[in-house]
């Protein structure tokens, strides 16, 4: 395994080496039934403007009323990212005009966010682990959607998403490589999914990421940053960052200056370009929303949410290593998501954890991949897999036979025990029976016995094979080994 880098690689330019400085602003759609300030539903993919109330469409005289569950979700997320939940927070209006922003302002939290501080521990690919600071988490409304490709001269406006609750989670500019940004985003998404506060589906837009990128020579002051929007997949993050960093380096090295601006990432071209529509949107004229009073949270409210907080991936991973004695890597795999972790724990409960882990990461994951299932919907669930592991553990079948049994389970959907029973696959552990077979094999292969005894040690494997073959693989391999040796040695 390659050595992990203490510091990520720097980019080489004509004027020396450059460091990339990255901060992420993640917009995570809160899992809720209704919108942040109205009773309209938040379903994805509905017919245009069907998920819209008069409040969401900003009709005259319409007023916001805050959704309690969205507050709970934000508090839970704040606790999950090790942040401080503020007992006093407030909603502000962020004023700007856009076709899909019906109120002409977005209700957000500017001066007093619901969560401040926090951090996320990441393990970037090829680099040493790192802690990334979270500046703040605040709650805000989403805008609607503008569709530009339906008509030659018009944009179509769908307000279904308008008013949906978002959490904006802002990191410190702590990241120095695309790998770190990717790891941060993945880890954040994992935590949100564990918490059940955001489904993290970037392709549906329920998690979106704006990347602040700047470059500097190591040790210098922070450079001017650009905000890259529309990075709607984790795999584009690295690409967008590297493109943008190289663009800025080229610009500076050619005597230019980076202008603070909003840029759009184009996944087809793999490049960023300036967003004209956001040109003059700098002066948002934030002020406290007079339609809403300050949000004051009681300790009791926060503690109730803390008490209901699920075990998060890092803690779970450590516990798996400690309680089940499995390798850290396996524990990492098993805690990738809540469902896998639950599956794992169901399988290992009262069983040989290492054996169970090998089966899950080996044949079972191969099966899921091949058949297109996941742990929540596969016909062979945790109990069935556990049944198979039990048969191996109690020596009813050998590991080899188990593979056949597993295939038969996939085929028939039957339990492992039933298949073993039906097909008579019970392992032979009777030493007398095995000795009899050994004797028979030795008698049939007297020449080879002589060769073995004449020094051809390697023939031992041949005899094991013959015994297994004679028992259709049902002989306990360990016993075969144990009994064969003295007999061959004479």
């Amino acid at each position: 395994m390659a050595e992990l880098l203490e510091h990520p690689k720097l980019l080489k330019g004509d004027s020396g080496e450059w460091e990339i400085v990255i901060g992420l602003e993640v917009h995570a759609q809160v899992i809720s039934n209704a919108k942040l300030f109205s009773g309209a539903p938040v379903a994805f993919g509905a017919e245009p403007n069907t998920q819209v109330s008069l409040v969401d469409a900003a009709f005259p005289g319409m007023l916001p009323v805050l959704n309690e569950h969205c507050v709970e979700q934000a508090v839970l997320t704040g606790l999950g990212i090790n942040g401080t939940v503020n007992k006093y927070s407030r909603f502000d209006r962020k004023n700007y005009f856009y076709a899909d922003l019906p109120q002409g302002y977005q209700i957000s939290q500017f001066e007093h966010p619901i969560v401040t501080g926090g951090y996320i521990d990441i393990e970037p690919e090829g680099e040493v682990p790192k802690r990334i600071g979270v500046t703040r988490l605040h709650v805000e409304q989403d805008a609607g959607k503008s569709i530009h490709d339906q008509h030659p001269t018009q944009s179509y406006i769908d307000l279904n998403r308008s008013g949906t609750a978002l959490m904006e989670i802002v990191s410190e500019p702590d990241m120095r490589s695309g790998e770190q940004a990717t790891a941060y985003l993945s880890k954040l998404r994992q935590v949100l999914r564990y918490l059940g506060t955001c489904d993290g589906n970037m392709d549906q837009g329920s998690m979106r990421c704006d990347i602040n990128v700047s470059v500097r020579h190591p040790g210098d002051e922070l450079g001017t940053r650009c905000e890259v929007k529309n990075v709607n997949s984790i795999r584009f993050v690295r690409q967008a960052i590297e493109y943008e960093a190289r663009r800025q380096i080229r610009l500076i090295e050619n005597g230019g200056e980076v202008v603070q601006e909003t840029r759009l990432y184009d996944p087809n071209k793999g490049e960023t370009r300036s967003m004209r529509s956001k040109e003059d949107a700098h002066d948002y004229r934030y002020f406290p929303d007079p339609d809403l009073l300050p949000l004051r949270l009681e300790d009791e409210f926060i503690e109730r949410i803390r008490a209901g907080m699920p075990e998060l991936p890092d803690a779970k991973r450590a516990r798996f290593v400690k309680d089940y004695g499995i390798a850290d890597y396996d524990a990492w795999v098993m805690t990738a998501d809540q469902a896998t972790a639950d599956f794992f724990e169901t399988v290992v409960k009262g069983r040989d954890a290492k054996l169970a882990t090998n089966w899950i990461t080996g044949d079972y994951f191969a099966y899921l991949n091949r058949e297109g299932f996941d742990v929540t919907n596969a016909p062979i669930g945790a109990e069935k897999l556990g049944g198979l592991v039990d048969l191996i553990s109690d020596n009813t079948i050998s590991g080899r036979i188990a593979k056949d049994v597993f295939e038969a389970m996939i085929e028939s959907g039957k339990d492992a025990a039933a298949i073993v029973e039906e097909k008579g696959l019970v392992q032979i552990t009777d030493t007398g029976a095995i000795e009899a077979i050994i004797d028979e094999v030795m008698a049939k292969n007297a020449d080879k016995v002589a060769d073995y005894r004449g020094g051809k040690d390697k023939l031992f494997g041949f005899f094991v094979g013959q015994v297994m073959k004679a028992t259709q693989g049902k002989a306990n391999p360990a016993l075969v080994n144990q009994l064969l040796k003295p007999k061959l040695d004479g």
């Binding site: 005259p60 319409m62 007023l63 005009f97 019906p102 004229r285 002020f287 007079p290 339609d291 009073l293």
Partner: protein, 491 residues
Amino acid sequence: MSGLTDLTIAGARAGLDSGDFSARELAQAHIDAMAQHKALNAFITETPERALADADASDARRAKGESAGPMDGVPIAMKDLFCTEGVRSTAGSHILEPFVPPYESTVSGKLKAGGSVMLGKANLDEFAMGSANITSYFGPVTNPWVAGGGDNRQRVPGGSSGGSAAAVAARIAIAATGTDTGGSIRQPASFCGIVGLKPTYGRCSRWGIVAFASSLDQAGPMTRTVEDAATMLQVMAGHDPKDSTSAPYDTPNFAEKLRAGVKGLKIGVPKEYRVDGMPAEIDRIWHQGADWLRAQGADVVEISLPHTKYALPTYYIIAPAEASSNLARYDGVRYGLRVPGKDLKEMYENTRAEGFGAEVKRRIMIGTYVLSAGYYDAYYLKAQKVRSLILRDFTQAFEQVDAILTPTAPSAAFALGEKQDDPVQMYLNDVFTVPASMAGLPAISVPGGLSDEGLPLGLHLIGKPFDEVTLVQVAQALEEAAGFSARPAGY
């Protein structure tokens, strides 16, 4: 049946209950008056058919021995700032000229459910921004009052609820809804010789009322008697879960102490309201009011509200700031006027340039400026802090007194065309009403008498938060003492 248009709510209810006339007859008399006095331009949209249908429904209820409440069958004017389902609601603006709301505001809905008969949508200053009802896209409203002594100049009704005030004063409607942000109920009530009550902020739901300045806007009744104001407020008030700033408190019986008198009550007269250059007739009526209360056994004491003179500048930062944001939704996309442009931005700019009148643009621009980068702290934040001080003044005063007496406005109704060139002069109309608005306090204007020119002058009472009961109690005493019986000639 001209007597029908002279009735109070209480009188109308008595007549309806005893069968002297039907709700339909009552409605028709007012519809006729509305037709007769069209020249006042008190209405933007008249709804006579709706009124007759409402009246018929009321008669049908009475025939079955049912009642929808104390305003069942009472013809009213609805300020065109209230969104009314299926009835065009314009806010007096070109930008909402075609707008027909698919919903009913909470307050108008309560009045509807309470059996009142809607005659039409009353004219107002555009988006309730004005003190003379001259900024309406649908033209100015004329005050039914004219001065005596051969001065026949048309007078403004005050604003922004000018159409409502004129309709009630001219006996077109028995009562009307108003909204008050800095004096928009009380100042026109004073100018038109009627009663206007602005309840405590949070008493009436703002849901469905076109917003001007959210932290100040409050709906209230405009009537010809204090008792009617209490009755109408009873129907309009109440907690509304759809408005986060609606107070979650029980609604008292506002008329509970209507005739309890003022004996033993302490009434404050703030010395800072004696502003430089106050006309003698205003000072006179104010003293008169204090004497009336004293004569009835109240203890009238001088109090101090040190930040009074800063209320108006504070208001002209906070209200425009909120308005600049509240009016951003009028963008030509989802409802109302759209004026085409070569791109989205130009469409916005054309729509809003053509859709808004000068005063609305002025306030949007001021509001945008005071919130903009680099100016927020100096203007908006500062104003919020001064607002705290204004509230503190009142809080301290109310440790001493039960209500505060001031004039409603610094003058009687002025002539149409006056004060129009200088916005700041116009803003000074609200100098006495704005402080209570900043503090969210209930306040009422009651006719106190006539000016030297024969125009009505109002007296203004400010109450403790959510203590409209005492406010009404004192107002009733003033009303009785004043015995105001003058009415505009010809109405």
